[in-house]
Amino acid sequence: MHEYSITESILSLALEKASAASASQIKRINLVVGELSGVVSECVQFYFDVISKDTIAGGAELAFEVRPTKLQCRKCQTVFTPQNSEWSCPDCHEAGIEIVSGRECYMESIEVE
C-alpha cells in the first residue's frame, strides 16, 4: 500500500507540472528512486495505469532510474557499496558511515505533448 500513496503523489505532481505548461498529454514520467526508498516500480506502474486512466497522464510510461545504495565512511571518506550485512568501511573498518545514495525518490522530468 506504500506504493499507492507514492503513485498518487506522482500523478498529482505530474498533472500540476503538465497543466502549468499547458500540455495536452503526458507521454512519459522520469523518476529517480534509490534502492533504500522501498519503492517497487512494477507496483507503481500498475497503480498508475489505474488511477491515471481518465487524466491527460493516461497511458504514460513511468521510467525508473534506480540508484544503488552507497555509503561513505565518516572517518576516511571512502565511498563504498555495502556487501550483505557488512556495513563498516572496507578500508579502515570504521562503523561510522553515512548513506550518501540510495534514498532518492524524486521526479526528474516529464515528457509532454
Binding site: 500500500m1 506504500h2 499507492y4 500513496s5 507514492i6 503523489s9 506522482i10 498529482s12 505532481l13 505530474a14 507540472k17 503538465a18 505548461a21 500540455a23 495536452s24 507521454k27 523518476l31 533504500l36 526508498s37 522501498g38 565518516r74 550485512s85 556495513w87 563498516s88 570504521e94 562503523a95 561510522g96 558511515i97 553515512e98 548513506i99 534514498r103 525518490c105 524524486y106 521526479m107 526528474e108 522530468s109 516529464i110 515528457e111 509532454v112 505533448e113
Partner: protein, 222 residues
Amino acid sequence: MSVKVITVGEDILGANDEKARANKSRLDKYGILTINIMSSPGAGKTSLILSTIKHLRKKTRIAVIEGDVASSVDADKVNELGIPVIQINTAGGCHLDANMVEKALNDLPLKDTDLLFIENVGNLICPNAFALGEDRRVMIASLPEGDDKPHKYPAMFADTDVILLNKIDLQPYLDFNTDAFKKVVTGLNPDVTIFPVSCKTGTGMAAWFAWLESTVKNKKKK
C-alpha cells in the same frame, strides 16, 4: 505534435512535506512537543505510551493519535486512562501521512496539550519517508526482533532521534547482541540516544521519562 521535456526536479513526497511543515507550525504555536513513534508490529509502542501516560500525567497534559490499519484496540486502551485520543484507520495503508494527522489535530484539545504522541502504523519500511510534523522521532526496537534489523531497514534507524531497546527482561532467553546492535546503529546515526528498557518491568524507564520531561520543558520555553 512534438514531445517537450519539462524539468521537474522535485521530491515525489514534496506535498506531504509541505503539509507536515504546516502541522509543525500549528503545534509549535501551542508549544506542544510532538513525538512520532515508529516500530515493527508488536515491539511495544502502545505499552510504551500507556506506561508513559501513567508516569507523566500528573505533571504533563498528554494527547495521543493512534494509527492502525484497522480496529480501535489501541485507542480504547488510551481512552480508558481518560486521555484525549484520536484513532486513525488507514484502511490498508502502511504508514500515517501529514494529511491524516492534520485532520486528527482538528479533533484534539491543542490548547490543553503539552505532549502529543503519534503512534505510527507498525512497519519498518516506509513510515520514516512520511513526515507528520513531529519534533522528534522515537523508534522502538525489541530484543525478540533480532539485532540485525538496522542492516535490513537502515533508513528507519538512520532517521530516528531516540531508540528504546525494549523487552530487555527477555535477554536471558535470546541471542540478541546489544553491543553489535549499538555499533551498527550509532555507526549509521551518531547522534541517536539509545535507552535499553522493559516496559513490562519498568527497568530503564526512568531515563526515558527524564529525557521526555526535559524535552517537553525545552519546547515550552521556545
